[in-house]
Amino acid sequence: MSEHGGHAFYFTYLRRELQHRRRQALLAAAGLAVGVGLVVTVTAATAGVSGAEAAVLHSLYGVGTDVSVTKAAPDPGTPDPNSAGTSGSAHKGIGYSPGKRPQPVDQLIAAAGLSWLPASAVAQVARVHNVAAAAGGLTLTDSQFTVPSLSQLGPGGKPPASAFPTTSSVDGVDLSYLGLGPFASAHLVSGRGFAGSDASADVAVADSGYATAHKLRVGSSVTIGFHRFTVIGIVSQPPASAADVYIPLARAQALAKSSPVSSFSGMTSRDMVTNIYVAAASAADVPAVRASLARLLHAATVSSSADLASQVSGSLNSAATLAADLGRWLAVGVLLAAFAVASLLTLAAVGRRHAELGTLKALGWPGRRVIAQLLGESLVTGIIGAVLGVALGYGGAAIVRAAAPRLSATVAQSPGATPPLSISMNSSGAHRSYPPGSFHTVAVQMTAPVTATAVLLAVTLALAGALLAGAFGSWRASRLQPAAAMSTVE
């Protein structure tokens, strides 16, 4: 085969033929473009949903956490120290009664649904094979109220407003591993974060929303467990983050032990945690680490991101299912249809060019030269389809971003733990309810990022589809005899 002259003729013939069949070529390219565009859009939407899920999960356990360990609260029916009291008593079963003078109460208890783990378990977990790091955490609820004096009670023993607790969520942060736990997802807005030297200090970092609501800034004071903490920094956090205030873990442990609430009755003076955050050596090690921790701490709840993802409910979950199932199969179906259309059009074109291709063979063109000409035409069609498809994909992703409703995700306040269920009776019968704050619903704005990987996948699919379609036509052409140049058989 000739070199330069043959190359020039090749491209001239290719260009002329595509111009001659431009409608069919554009139809095939358009079909590929629709399929490819759908793949890019679905990939972007799936990535957006995954990103939203990850943001929800990361806000709960931090960016670097692969596995979390918690312990579920006791069965329902056990006296719930978080329950608000009725007339005459702020909390049932915990010994507060109105007296001669008002009694301020500031108690730190484990967050709803969580129980205690020994802090020594953190070191045990850190020694497990394929665990890169482990950190303890305390997820607490700070409940502040005033037990009224007898004289403050209203008609019928109705307590004043100050008798009802105001609560805030407090997280004890392990300052040795700031990359693990919910605090890892926080972004500093003002002031500073924690330093290693803050381990025993009464310093706090506040959530920006909480700080605004309570008029806190750097240098302000906040009271936790009757202790005054100085706010050293303000952070912004992902929507699902639960903590209003972060304090050093050691201080949280000390305050929790000294709390007058009897929820710790029976516990020894050992340090306690409610969460252990674990980073695996690699993503591939996560399942094995999870299984090892489940065997080591059989009474605890061990959850990976995949486990937590299954606990997320709401429209975010529905969107994830839609993108993963319907979206994927729709994209595959449209692509297959596009391949079929391109193949049929190529076969039809070869059929119409029967005499032409036979003539080329009669002129002495080798079969591979004829095939190369046909594949070149298909490849150009694929390139056009790829370019159009990527453009359609960007457009589709933009539409998803603009038109997608704000999604919601509902997670337990302490995922991995069972929220306590309250059962009450009144004239209308028995009623079951979870205490306020047991579940947390956050709004998530869905994105639809188009990544370089998605574009590369789209281009590859378009070119592969076009070449596959061209291969069908080329196969048919390869079977043509030179005598096909003659119109009839005598």
Binding site: S2, A8, L363
Partner: protein
């Protein structure tokens, strides 16, 4: 040039077998002009395809330049068609999307020809058939006679040893037929070609040196050639 001995070619069609060429024996000398005359369906085009290495005989020996075309591998047959055999089709068979000069270039694509030489040789071939001023016209912009001239130029641009013409004037009017036949005769004389022409027209066949009749796939007695001075 050619030696055929007992050449047979059959086709299977609609469940039955058609013997397009039966037990054909023929010798064609270098530089000879031979016409194969017969009615439609007599097998003459099939015989031409066998001579053009576009079909393999089912039986017999078909020798071209001392090579048995029936036993050559497909790649070598392709090389023979590319280099040694020029074919002129009844329906012209030009590539509709290529200009006249590009159609002629198509015959040189299988050869190692630099681009400048490719265009020059094609232009020269067009000039030899009187179409230098139509080089950049598409086939749809040419008359039937002009298209056949392009076909002849394409067949001759590679300087083949033999020119095979299948009813070259079959789609042309009377006046154009004479032009084309005169052109073929001129080229045959000037280049010393071996020319094998298939036709049903006795007037056209009569211009050849020798006429071979074909009926029902069989070659009949060769008629005495006309003398050409």
């Amino acid at each position: 040039m050619y030696n055929l001995s007992g050449v047979t070619k059959t086709y299977t069609k609609h469940g039955g077998t058609i013997a397009a060429v039966q037990d054909a024996s023929l010798s064609i000398a270098d530089g000879e002009w031979i016409a194969i005359q017969g009615r439609t369906g007599s097998g003459k085009s099939t015989l031409l395809q066998l001579l053009g290495a576009m079909l393999r005989p089912d039986h017999g020996v078909l020798s071209f330049q001392d090579r048995d075309l029936a036993s050559l591998p497909e790649t070598m047959l392709t090389q023979v068609r590319a280099a040694e055999i020029g074919f002129v089709f009844q329906a012209f068979n030009l590539i509709p999307t290529l200009s006249a000069v590009e159609n002629v270039e198509a015959a040189l694509v299988p050869h190692r020809v630099p681009p400048a030489e490719l265009r020059a040789r094609a232009a020269l071939a067009l000039d030899s058939v009187g179409l230098a001023d139509r080089a950049h016209h598409l086939p749809s912009e040419l008359s039937g006679g002009q298209q056949q001239r392009v076909g002849i130029a394409r067949a001759l641009v590679k300087q083949p040893k033999v020119l095979l013409a299948d009813e070259p004037t079959g789609n042309l009017d009377v006046d154009t037929r004479d032009e084309i036949m005169s052109l073929l005769e001129t080229l045959w004389r000037e280049r010393g070609l071996t020319l094998v022409l298939v036709t049903h027209d006795s007037g056209i066949a009569g211009r050849a040196q020798r006429i071979v009749a074909m009926k029902d796939g069989r070659l009949s007695i060769a008629l005495a050639p006309e003398e050409h001075s």
